[in-house]
């Protein structure tokens, strides 16, 4: 009887411990996603503000807001692709979780990473097709919903 009770409390303890562990895991994952996601956005903002600065305008090229945003996107995509190519970004993803997947650098990673991985399956159905394994759905539903709101905008205008 007492053995049975001990067994039960041990089991209860395990359940409690694992739920606590899960809670602290969620907390840790979220902190990491928050920190890395925020950091990537700070990097992008720094690049954009530098492109818009009077120093850059006087010495290199005077961008307008839209131009600076486009160049910032290009630089961020390049960084995401480059860090993927040197096998850094996927490992960063293990620590940062959604913090590295949600920013535009993660979008670049989602294209470049499978492109590298599926090289062994050929250039057409390997690299060419698998490149869009994650980006494809994003583009399909993103553009389709944009067409939907565009149509509504056109009709209601």
């Amino acid at each position: 009887m007492s053995g049975n009770l001990e067994h039960l409390t041990e089991k209860q303890y395990q359940v409690m411990a694992s739920s606590k562990e899960q809670k602290s895991k969620l907390w840790k994952d979220c902190m990491m996603a928050f920190l890395f996601g925020g950091l990537i956005c700070i990097i992008a903002q720094t690049i954009k503000d530098f492109l818009l600065s009077s120093y850059f305008a006087e010495n290199v090229y005077g961008f307008d807001e839209e131009g600076a945003a486009a160049i910032t996107t290009m630089i961020m995509v390049f960084l995401g692709a480059f860090l993927t190519a040197i096998n850094v970004y996927d490992n960063l993803g293990r620590i940062a979780g959604a913090g590295s997947a949600v920013p535009i650098t993660g979008f670049a990673n989602s294209i470049v990473s499978p492109a590298m991985e599926f090289r062994s399956e050929g250039h057409i159905l390997g690299v060419g097709a698998q490149m869009f394994i994650v980006a494809g759905p994003v583009l399909v539903y993103g553009t389709s919903s944009a067409v939907l709101v565009g149509l509504l905008y056109f009709l209601l205008k």
């Binding site: 996603a33 920190l35 903002q45 096998n87 913090g99 949600v102 920013p103 590298m116 490149m131 565009g150």
Partner: protein
């Protein structure tokens, strides 16, 4: 608005948008691809009703760099193209606005597939 406050807002808004995705990832059975689709579609609709532009005004790159901002760019691109081209703009505006990012990622992906090999990932 001070520079420090501005950057703090960028950090917080960008961070929170990523943390929300992390909660969805940990707490629900949604796969990461599904969450990214939800993000981009939400971005389109939040942008269409005018909410996302306000977030961009506060958070700058903190709002434009996460995938919601990709949806925002799609939507604003379509709106702008409809203003300029009418009906045809519905189909040209979206991808036109985000073409830079997609094309660069595709080209870099192709180059990387030639020059780089994936290392076995650290467990």
């Amino acid at each position: 608005m001070g520079l420090l406050v501005k950057y703090l807002l960028v950090f917080i808004i960008g961070g929170v948008l990523c943390a929300i995705a992390q909660v969805l990832l940990d707490k629900t059975k949604l796969t990461s691809a599904r969450i990214l689709v939800i993000y981009v579609v939400s971005g389109v609709f939040l942008s269409a009703v005018g909410i996302y532009s306000k977030l961009v005004a506060i958070g700058g790159c903190g709002a434009t760099i996460p995938l919601l901002g990709f949806g925002h760019a799609l939507c604003q691109g379509v709106f702008k193209a409809v203003d300029e081209l009418g009906f045809r703009g519905i189909f040209t505006g979206g991808l036109g606005a985000v073409a830079t990012g997609i094309v660069m990622a595709v080209v870099f992906g192709l180059i990387a597939s030639f020059v780089s090999k994936p290392k076995s990932k650290i467990q």
